[in-house]
Amino acid sequence: MLDVINVSKTFNPGTVNESRALTGVSLHLDPGDFVSVIGSNGAGKSTLFNLIGGTYFADGGKILLDGEDITYRPEHKRSKYIGRMFQDPLKGTAPHLSIEENLALAFLRASEHMSPFSRVTKKERESFRERLAELGLGLEDRMKAPVGLLSGGQRQALTLLMATVVTPKLLMLDEHTAALDPATAEKVLDLTRQIVAEQKITCLMVTHNIASALSLGSRTVMMNAGQIVLSLEEKEREGMSVTDLMELFKQKTARSFDNDRMLL
């Protein structure tokens, strides 16, 4: 499904600010896998995501999606197959467009065969309404409202819908609940779990919440200093507590946590 092969990335090479963000990272995802990625700040999680998503390109190595080499494919072409969500709820939606128009944009990914001059049809509008109703946030009655009026949690739920309205080959979640209050975060996580399970989406998720890293998905991968230091299979993960995992992390990295967000 997704193969990241020996990928590396260095920022500002040859300057005093040189930082080796990733050094020879390899990762394999099977169809239907749900992998959570943990690691402290600067471990290279976001860099890995941005390389897979195409925000910038790898210095070396290869990225394959369904056997196709996408290492140097521009971002807008990859996003046909890859849905992404970020920590910042403002990043995933266009504030001055209405909910309906935002969804219509997300739907563009499936529209290769559609005329660029066509409009949103009644049928599509109905299906948008149905999907919005499934979120249980009452957004289906506000389809014409500009997205800028929604709360952070509503916007993030809408972004989740937009990322999955056309089932992507790969869904990447970059701390997508970190900016939300605990109750809303739980709600968005539930929705994520539900949608990923229903559509059987292969999913890669960065989180600082170790408890949800262990409870969600099928595998947990731990990164440190630009490398994957630990990969836990479903069986190994079973019965593991947050403290166990942190102990393991300390052993693997020979350092203690420098960031209390990891403890949450």
Binding site: K77, P95, H96, E101, L105, A163
Partner: protein
């Protein structure tokens, strides 16, 4: 008086196309496109030259194509070559000066006197009586506005609107922002050139300096219109630029005929109006903050006593 109003209306509709172009580039794409001044003259020059050659209708299409090319150059500079958007417009604008001279046959002005224009063609049919110029000006502008409104509702138009709103999100929705910016600027500059083309044939002359300050006047029209009608939807925005442009031309006519202020002052006044309108939100915020601060101090003072 009737004649003055009629002229103001005609000019209002003709120049509204520039404001419409700025609505697309400045409001929707969030790019201050300074190609506008040179592009307006380009449209006029191409249109007048083609009309002199005996093709007044094809002249409009040629002018629009030329304008789209100018927009393409500006877009190419900023999307592919990393030139900051304002600078890209200025660079194209400077280059256009030479192109415009070339389009006028290396002369700084060109006249259409005695030749057929789209206006004389309509007059000859007898349609509309004395109002034929207004009918044509309004007809072209309303058609352009309707087409723009229709276009912005399509999938392609939607991606252009979203590009100005949240570029990251648009890329994540598999839209190529280089393409949407380029297309948007091409359409905007085609509209500007169409305005120049219509004005050129209307006034039966084109001068190399006739575009100076057009971008600021266009912004003034945009802002006047939005102040009158509010800025909510795309449809309202398009109607607002036309209304704003007509109001601007009425103000211009009043100044011109009553001489309340010397006409030479008009560009300075326009610039001040635009600067004030764009600065208004910041000034308002600052004043509100000062008031809040003063209220806080007063409360403290009474609390102490």
């Amino acid at each position: 008086m009737l004649l003055i109003s009629q002229t103001a209306l005609e000019l209002g509709f003709l120049y509204a196309l520039v404001a419409m172009a700025l609505f697309l580039s400045y409001r929707i794409l969030d790019i201050a496109d300074l190609t506008t001044d040179g592009c307006f003259v380009l449209g006029a020059a191409v249109s007048v030259t083609a009309a002199v050659a005996g093709h007044p209708v094809a002249a409009l299409l040629c002018a629009m194509a030329a304008g789209a090319c100018a927009g393409f150059v500006t877009a190419f500079l900023q999307t592919r070559l990393g030139v900051p958007s304002i600078l890209a417009g200025i660079v194209t604008n400077t280059g256009l000066y030479t192109i415009n001279l070339m389009a006028m046959g290396w002369s700084s002005n060109k006249s259409l006197l005695g030749k057929a224009t789209i206006f004389t063609m309509l007059k000859d049919t007898g349609f509309g009586g004395d109002w034929y110029e207004l009918i044509l000006a309004a007809g072209v502008t309303v058609t352009a506005g309707a087409l723009l409104y229709w276009f912005l509702g399509t999938r392609l138009g939607l991606s252009i609107r979203a590009t100005g709103d949240n570029r990251d999100m648009v890329r994540a929705s598999s839209v190529n922002t280089t393409f949407t910016i380029t297309l948007g600027l091409c359409i905007a500059n085609a509209l500007t050139a169409l305005s120049g083309a219509m004005v050129g044939q209307y006034q039966k002359t084109v001068d190399i300096n006739s575009g100076t300050g057009i971008v600021v006047i266009g912004l003034a029209c945009l802002i006047i219109g939005e102040t009158v009608l509010g800025r909510r939807s795309v449809l309202k925005g398009i109607i607002a630029v036309v209304v704003g442009s007509v109001i601007y031309r009425f103000i211009y006519a009043i100044v011109f005929y009553t001489k309340i202020v010397p006409v030479d002052f008009l560009k300075l006044i326009t610039a001040l109006v635009v600067a004030a309108a764009i600065a208004a939100p910041t000034v308002k915020k600052h004043l509100a903050f000062q008031r809040q601060k003063a209220a806080g101090r007063r409360e403290e003072a009474t609390g102490d006593a």
